[in-house]
């Protein structure tokens, strides 16, 4: 059974800080790892990482995949209060579905 573990479960930082969120996984026939941001209800897509694309960057957010360690990190630099959300990591394998972790709840304070 596919499994995703995220850490930390939650953290509180000050605006301007840099944060690193962690995701480790176990999946049969890995295809991709995805990061989503969930502010209220609907998760919104951030990045997809695959064997052929192990680093992605968009503005202050960046992500890397370590296939050897079966893990990924999501970095957010110069955090803003609008970054406060739950960040979800998910993987796809043989099956055409996403298996999600429990998420990391990030709170950015002034």
């Amino acid at each position: 059974e596919d499994k995703v573990v995220q850490s930390p479960l939650s953290l509180v930082v000050h605006e301007g800080d840099t944060v690193t969120l962690n995701c480790s996984y176990e999946v049969t026939n890995f295809r991709s790892l995805l990061w989503y941001k969930q502010e209220k209800k609907a998760p919104t897509f951030l990045f997809m990482l695959t064997s052929s694309g192990i680093e992605k960057k968009s503005g202050r957010l960046s992500s890397k995949l370590d296939k050897k360690e079966l893990s990924s990190i999501l970095n957010i630099t110069a955090t803003q209060t609008g970054d406060s959300a739950i960040y979800l990591c998910a993987v796809t394998g043989t099956a055409s579905k996403l298996t999600f972790g429990t998420g990391t709840r990030l709170q950015v304070t002034l």
């Binding site: 295809r31 991709s32 209800k41 609907a42 998760p43 897509f45 796809t92 055409s96 996403l98």
Partner: protein, 119 residues
């Protein structure tokens, strides 16, 4: 519509009752997924449709749960004899392609969810 639409947004029911949750995916999206999210947890896979057929229903917890997508667009998740443990947010997502298919970006487009409370 522009995004995935789910109705109702909130549903309160009594234990033992029957409920239906509806999902209207983005037009043209062939793949449709149902997930369930309990408080403090990540979304948990329930069922996946490719077109009209359920390609993977391995996440349905028991036979009280059933989902249909008769015309390959709108889907309905049906829960019989509801129990308090069924209380959660039920999320629907659609995608233009099957996960892992050539050309797939991997992105699922989620609706706002239906919050089900079983008293």
């Amino acid at each position: 519509g522009a995004g995935v639409s789910q109705t109702p947004s909130n549903k309160v029911t009594e234990k033992g009752k029957y409920v239906e949750l509806r999902c209207d995916p983005i037009s043209g999206h062939t793949a449709l997924y149902w997930y369930r999210q309990s408080l403090g947890q990540g979304p948990e896979f329930l069922i996946y449709f490719q077109g009209t057929g359920a390609a993977d229903d391995s996440g349905l917890p028991n036979d009280r749960f059933f989902a249909v997508r008769p015309e390959g667009s709108v889907s309905t998740l049906k829960i019989q004899r509801t129990e308090r443990g069924d209380s959660a947010v039920y999320l629907c997502a659609s995608s233009p392609r099957r996960q892992g298919e050539t050309g797939s970006t991997g992105e699922l487009f989620f609706g706002e969810g239906s919050r089900l409370t079983v008293l």
